[in-house]
Subunit: 214 residues, 2 copies
């Protein structure tokens, strides 16, 4: 039997969490295991670090270029993070939604709020909590790359970010990374099955009811 085209609408999956809650690990594992999900490439004014590739890791732009993106209404959300500006271009989002691909966003609560304004029905906002602040601090120290001052600053920022947990539809506690990943995967699987995301159902049902012997 010929399978009709059954293209769903894409999802905008937001993973927010304080730094150290395990979000990056979960995002990486998700991207590796699900070919329908790609990471959003942000525009940023932050300088390129060694090893980073322009238009792969970020779209590296200067302040004037970033300002032009804002004024041209070309960003779905943008925010200052540690003195640099980061933003998500609108065009790739629209393409992905239409083509049935999912985009993963690693953004904070402010970016999530902005995405909601433009793409409420497409958004899957997930917040990941650490099991405890002591565990969060332990994970930050385990990186062994940050000064004490930076760690304390990240801890304060973490508490502030966590304060916005209740603006997210889904809230997970990352006590075990495999379990947390499987929870994220179940959420994505379910969100893809929502009627609104499956426009092919309209002709499918029309055909079903119109030709009772089909």
């Amino acid at each position: 039997m010929d399978q009709p085209t059954r293209q769903r609408r894409g999802l905008l999956i937001v993973l927010s969490s304080p730094s150290g809650a395990g979000k990056s690990t979960i995002a990486r594992m998700l991207l590796e295991s699900d070919s329908e999900v790609t990471m959003s490439v942000s525009a940023t004014t932050r300088p390129k670090r060694p090893g980073e590739v322009d238009d792969v890791d970020y779209h590296f732009v200067d302040d004037a270029q970033f300002q032009a993106l804002i004024e041209g209404d070309e960003l779905a959300e943008w925010a200052y993070v540690f003195d640099h500006r980061y933003g998500s271009p609108k065009e790739p989002i629209k393409d992905a939604l239409r083509e049935g691909r999912d985009i993963l966003f690693d953004i904070d609560w402010q970016g999530t709020q902005q995405l909601k304004f433009a793409f409420k029905n497409d958004l899957v906002p997930i917040f990941i909590l650490p099991p405890s602040m002591a565990e969060l601090e332990r994970r930050l120290r385990a990186r062994a790359t940050d000064s004490e001052e930076v760690i304390q600053s990240r801890m304060r920022r973490a508490a502030s970010e966590i304060g916005h947990w209740d603006t997210y539809d889904y809230v997970l506690i990352n006590e075990d990374v495999e379990r947390c990943l499987s929870e994220v995967r179940a959420i994505i699987a379910a969100e893809r099955l929502k009627r609104d995301r499956r426009p092919f159902l309209v002709p499918f049902v029309r055909n079903l009811v119109a030709r009772p012997n089909n």
Copy 2:
């Protein structure tokens, strides 16, 4: 580390579909594999069939008793199906929601609409479509228990029920029962992770933020 009590709120899972679309099989497999889900026991005025157990398969009541349930506002939904009345008692629903257990309802679109009035935020409405009407008819005939007249009546009823597919949040096509079951399971897993269903997160986050060294 002591695990605090993390009791979620229960779900009211509705599986609706025309007769023959595989709903009963999926419901049975789900109940066998997920101990947190139990089937709603309906009250009905239909006579008990051989092998059925009162208060297990149904609460068998007479017309006057059913009328008293309606007038006492003790039913979350009720409907006529083939000349008999069927309804879902409210009390067990409230108990389950509070105790973090899920209840599975095998009801049609009318019952689902009524449940929405009383329990909108707790409802997970899933509609299961057959792959085609020819396949639906084949499945109905395979039962080999119904007369031609009953089969034709079920086919007309099926077309009518399918007409209400777009009042459901999730709509699945049952082409493969294992796949359809895994889709139902993903939906349930995700719905359990919604913030609103996890009241334990409120004290959890309060504790997390209030005691930064905890």
